[in-house]
Amino acid sequence: MAGKPIEGEKRAFMTGNEVVAWAAVAADVDIMYGYPITPQNEIMHYWTRMAPKYGREFLQTEDEISAGFTTIGGVLAGRRSFTATAGPGNTLMQEAMSMAEMMRIPIVQVVTQRGGPSTATVIYSQQEVTMTCFGGNGEGARIVYSTSTHQELFDYTIKAFNIAWKYRFPTFVLGDGYQSKMRESLTIYDPESRGIKMVPTEPYMGNEGLPGTDRDPHHLRNTYNTEDELYGVVTDIMKNWEKVAPEVAEYQEYDVEGADVLIVAHGVVTRAVQGALKQLKEEGKNVGHFRPITLRPIAEDQLRKRAEKAKVVLVVESSYGQLKKLITDAIYGLSTPIKTFLKPGEGITAEEVVEEVNKLL
C-alpha cells in the first residue's frame, strides 16, 4: 500500500470539493458512503480517485436515505465513515441524522449548501442552516461547523472526525456551493505533522468481553415503549449536550471592542464582512464583526457580551433569517435591536455590507 497521502505540509490551489476529499484521506477515513448531488459530486469523484491508493473504500448507495444509514452502519462497525450531500439530499438524510442523534453515533456529514427549497438551484446559498442544525425529529444535539475558506474546509473536515468520535454527537461541516466550486490556495498537511492525533474509532457491536462485566454494554436502541423511558434518554442526551456545548462552541471576533454596530455573519459571508470592516475602519466607523464558527452550539455567552454593548446588531446572511433565528435565540432578553441584510441564494459582497452599515450609522 502507498504511504501517507500527504507528507508534512504542502501548498495547493484547488476546489473546495477537492479539499474535502484530501482532508478525509489525510484524516485516515476508512469509507465514504454517498449519492451524487450537485455541488458536492466532486467530493465523491476525488475520494474515489484517491481512496483506493490508500486502501480506503467507497460505496455509492441508491439514494441519500440509504447513504445516511449506511454511514451509520459503517460507524457501528467501528469505521471512520462519512457522507456528503446538499439540498434535497440533505433533506433525505435527516432521518438517519435523527437516529444518529438519538443513538449518539459519531457520523460526519459534509453539506455543500445549494439554493432554495426542493430542487431549486444547484449553485449557492446559506439556506441549509436550519435543516443542518435542527432538521431532525429531535432537539438538534449535533455539532455544526460553518467554514469560510478552503483552509478551514480542510482544518474542520479533519476536526469533525475527532470531535464526532470524542463527543459522540453527529457532526457536520457546513460549506456551500461557492466553496465547492471555487479555487483558491491553502496548505494541506498530514494531521500528525501538526500534532493532531486522530481519535481512535471502535465498533459499537461485537466487542470483546462480556457486556456489563468486562466492559460497558452498548445499548443500541432507537425505539422506546413508554413516555418515561424516552424522557429519561432524551434528558440524558441533552444534559450531556449542554455540558459539552461550551467546550465545542467556536467563534471569531474582529474589532468588536467598542463597536456601535455588531455585524454577525457566518460561512463565506464572513469574508465579505471582513472586507467591509477594513473599509469602514478607514472611514472611522465603529463597527465590529462576530462570526460564529459553530452554528450549533453557538457561542452564546460571548455573543451576548458583545451584543449587549452594541447599539445595533446587523445579521448578514444568504438566506432569509435562518442565522437570525439562531442569533435572536442566543441573545434573547437584550434590548439591542437586530437589523438584517438578507439575500437568500445570492452571494454577498463587501460593498453591499458597507452600504448596509452606512444606512444604520
Binding site: I123, A350, E351
Partner: protein, 188 residues
C-alpha cells in the same frame, strides 16, 4: 502594472472562458499571489452564457463574487448584455468587435470600452481553437496581473501533454497569447 484585479469573463458555453480563468489563476498562484476563481455553474453549462469570476491580489481575497469588475470580457451578444451589471466607472470593458447588433448594449459608464477582433484573428491568422488563448492574452494585457512568462508556464502545465504530441501547437498557443496582448494594448 495593476496590483490586483477583479475580472469577469463571459461567453457562450464552449468558448473556453472557464479554461482561461483557470489558467490565469493557476499562473497567479504559481507566481505566489492570492488567486480565487469561481465559475458560474448553473444550467448555462449546458448551453447559454458562461461566466467566470476571477480575483487576483496580494492580500487574502474576500467574498468570491464582486460587485464591480476591473475588467469585463464579453464574447457574445448575450454575454455583453449579461455583464452590464459588473461595469462601473473604473471598469475596462472588452468585447469582440465582430459581435453583431450590440452597439446599443455596450456600457455607457465604463472607463474604457475596447472592441478587439479576437474571433477574426483566431480564424484568419491562427486557428479557431486558440481563440480562448487570445482572450487570455487580452486579459493579461489589460490588467498586467500575470506576466507573459508565468502565463506561458501555466499554459504549458495545462496543455503540455498535447504539445508533446504536436510541438507546433506550443508555438500556436504562444503566438495566440502574444497576439491577445497586442490586440488589447493597441486599443488601450
Amino acid at each position: 502594472m495593476a496590483k490586483g484585479a477583479k475580472i469577469a469573463l463571459a461567453g457562450e458555453g464552449g468558448q473556453g472562458v472557464q479554461s482561461v480563468a483557470m489558467i490565469i489563476t493557476e499562473a497567479a498562484y504559481e507566481d505566489g499571489r492570492e488567486a480565487l476563481y469561481i465559475p458560474n455553474f448553473g444550467v448555462e453549462q449546458r448551453g447559454g452564457v458562461s461566466v467566470a469570476y476571477v480575483q487576483i491580489s496580494d492580500e487574502p481575497i474576500g467574498s468570491p463574487k464582486f460587485k464591480t469588475a476591473d475588467i469585463v470580457v464579453a464574447l457574445s451578444d448575450r454575454a455583453v448584455r449579461r455583464t452590464q451589471k459588473y461595469v462601473g466607472e473604473k471598469t475596462v470593458f472588452v468585447y469582440d468587435a465582430d459581435i453583431d447588433g450590440v452597439e446599443d448594449d455596450l456600457p455607457k459608464n465604463a472607463a474604457k470600452v475596447l472592441g478587439i477582433p479576437a474571433i477574426r484573428v483566431a480564424k484568419d491568422e491562427l486557428h479557431p481553437r486558440v481563440f480562448n488563448i487570445i482572450i487570455m492574452g487580452a486579459v493579461i494585457g489589460a490588467t498586467g496581473v500575470v506576466n507573459l512568462e508565468k502565463a506561458k508556464e501555466a499554459i504549458e502545465k495545462k496543455l503540455g501533454y498535447k504539445f508533446e504530441k504536436d510541438p507546433k501547437l506550443r508555438d500556436l498557443n504562444y503566438t495566440a497569447i502574444e497576439r491577445g496582448i497586442e490586440l488589447v494594448k493597441e486599443k488601450l
